[in-house]
């Protein structure tokens, strides 16, 4: 039975395929090409060979950015794999008003990172909510420089990312919890397993695959961080630019007279390889875990 003419599917796919080619695949290839040039934000550029990559090796800013990225990832990973799961378990039970709580917990995800960062900038200000309360309680004598100290600024941005991510990963877990067998829970309950034991022995193994997926998502998004650090540091990347992320460096080279799209592209390639690493590691861990 002939369902349709041969070109009909192509007519439907062409728009999406064109977008894929023009805005995803070609830019991927072009990033590599550009990284061998000194292309400018305005006007063209010329071939410079491996010069950008040589500069990368001695780029102190990049070294700080990579260090920040690794710290970011290492701190975010445990918090964002565990807390959202606990939240998902908390909002899974149908209780009166639970939809309101689910929606409210998701609000930080919906808000723009810029809005969220500006709100936290005010809360973490020298005269803001946190410092005010802490001083009132006598925990500290002077304000903590959350927004001007290299490490406190990084920590603030990390806290913000964790806070903003809770609801997002909660929803993914919530969907996954639906696939955890109800019979297993009932059997465990009949056998007298406590809620905590059932959480550890039934729920966690049940969402194991999702956990790996979420760890990958967290790692990659931690390495891609931009808005939080950009806004909290007032666009300056902290003292001496030591709180830049790789994406912030890419953005800095994308504009102005000092801009260099070729160098920005070389940085993009670094970013690519950095984000591939956690994916490979976690995919491997997952395979090993599945075999064991």
């Amino acid at each position: 039975m002939k369902y349709h003419r041969w070109f009909t599917p192509w007519v439907l796919i062409v728009p999406a395929l064109a977008w894929l080619l023009v805005f995803n695949l070609w830019p991927s290839v072009n990033t590599v090409i550009l990284s061998f040039t000194n292309a400018r934000p305005i006007g063209g550029g010329t071939f410079v060979g491996l010069k950008n990559f040589e500069t990368l090796l001695h780029d102190e800013q990049l070294r700080y950015a990579l260090l920040n990225s690794v710290i970011y990832m290492v701190v975010c990973l445990p918090f964002l794999t565990i807390f959202p799961l606990l939240l998902a378990v908390l909002v899974e039970k149908k209780l009166p008003g639970i939809t309101f709580f689910r929606t409210a917990f998701y609000t930080p995800v919906v808000a723009s990172a810029v809005v969220v960062a500006l709100i936290w900038q005010w809360i973490l200000d020298d005269r803001g909510l946190v410092n005010g309360l802490a001083e009132k309680l006598g925990v500290i004598s002077g304000p903590l420089p959350f927004l001007s100290d290299q490490w406190l600024l990084l920590l603030s941005a990390i806290s913000l990312t964790i806070w903003k991510g809770l609801g997002y990963y909660m929803i993914i877990y919530l969907a996954a919890l639906g696939n955890v067998g109800r019979e297993l829970h009932e059997a465990a309950a009949v056998d007298g397993a406590s809620a905590f034991r059932r959480f550890v022995n039934v729920t966690i193994p049940g969402v194991r695959g999702t956990m790996v997926l979420i760890s990958i998502l967290i790692s990659v998004s931690a390495l891609r961080v931009f808005s939080e650090l950009f806004i909290l540091s007032g666009g300056k990347g902290g003292p001496g630019g030591r709180d830049n992320s790789v994406v912030m460096l890419i953005q800095q080279y994308s504009q102005g007279f000092e801009g260099n799209l070729g160098y920005a592209s070389a940085l993009s390639i670094v970013l690519f390889f950095v984000t591939v690493v956690p994916m490979l590691v976690l995919a491997r861990l997952n395979r090993k875990g599945a075999e064991a």
Binding site: M1, V110, G132
Partner: protein, 305 residues
């Protein structure tokens, strides 16, 4: 840890809830919930609620506090002593915030429209029609998911610039108008329809277009709403891409304009608070209105795998 997992999925299986409820009420089975547990659960829920929406309330409160009111008090006051809306007017006087909103809205509408049309057409073709290279095309869409958008953002900018669209709102919207992830979401949604329905429609003489409009689309409404909501939020909230594409302050979208505002008024938290609320409130309204479809769509996707 007093958190108990409830593996029952009342939302995912709607038909069941009607018959299952009376039975559960009578029995003291696995699903009954003790009063103590209820109290503990609500306490935890309220605690998390404070953490998640507290900062927004604090910002809202700051934006409403009168100019004469001390906003730096050690004992924070959530309720403004001299509530005023004047800071909202002041923001609009100093930066063209309503124009920024219009710009953001234009970009968001283009992105939402493009994604609904483009990804549902492609998703339908990939899942319901037979053609050569189908698997290769599908593989291409999958492959792009591995690549973080920031990696290609510079050459995307170069592409947009060569199309003559640098520093235009259309240039901001264009690359996001059909997302690979959305194509795959639609592919997944269409694929879960039984093929027999299609075959019956073919026997009845329905062409591809009729099958798409009358059979395909009505049954994937949940996924379409998820795509639409995510596309809207993504476009409205995006910061890095418009920051790179736009150079003229009068073309800024809200997020870029806000950052500009915070640079100009770094010493007036009331104004910045009002600005953030102007960007925040519309998206919260959109989400509050759509959240029913959103959560339903998310669960729908999960059940279908």
């Amino acid at each position: 840890m007093s958190i108990v997992t409830d593996p029952a999925r009342p939302i995912a299986v709607p038909e069941e809830s009607g018959t299952a409820k009376p039975r559960r009420r009578g029995s003291f089975g696995f699903n009954s919930i003790s009063p103590t547990e209820k109290v503990v659960r609500y306490l935890l829920l309220v605690f998390v609620l404070l953490i998640t929406i507290g900062p927004f309330l604090w910002q809202l409160s700051t934006s409403l506090k009168g100019s004469g009111e001390d906003i730096y008090t050690r004992i924070p006051r959530l309720l403004p002593a001299q509530p005023t809306l004047s800071h909202y007017g002041e923001v609009a006087d100093t930066i063209p915030v309503w124009d920024y909103m219009k710009n953001s809205l234009l970009v968001a509408v283009l992105v939402v429209g493009g994604n609904i049309v483009g990804s549902s057409l492609a998703g339908f073709a990939l899942s319901r029609l037979e053609f050569r290279f189908r698997r290769i095309v599908l593989g291409l869409f999958l492959a792009t998911l591995v690549l973080p958008g920031e990696v290609t953002i510079i050459s995307q900018y170069v592409t947009v610039r060569e199309l003559g669209l640098a520093n235009t709102l259309f240039g901001v919207a264009l690359p996001g108008m059909i997302g690979a992830l959305n194509v795959l979401l639609m592919f997944n949604a269409f694929r879960s329809l039984p093929i027999e329905v299609d075959q019956a429609a073919v026997v009845d003489g329905a062409n591809v277009w009729q099958r798409f409009v009358y059979i395909g689309l009505p049954s994937v409404r949940g996924t379409i709403s998820v795509v639409a909501i995510f596309a809207f939020i993504g476009a409205w909230d995006d910061f890095l891409w418009p920051l790179i594409v736009l150079t003229d302050p009068d073309k800024y979208t809200l997020t870029v304009g806000l950052q500009y505002l915070s640079g100009t008024f770094s010493n007036n938290p009331r104004l910045i608070a009002a600005g953030t609320m102007i960007a925040f409130i519309p998206i919260v309204i959109v989400f509050a209105v759509c959240q029913r479809f959103f959560f339903k769509g998310v669960e729908e996707g999960a059940v279908k795998g």
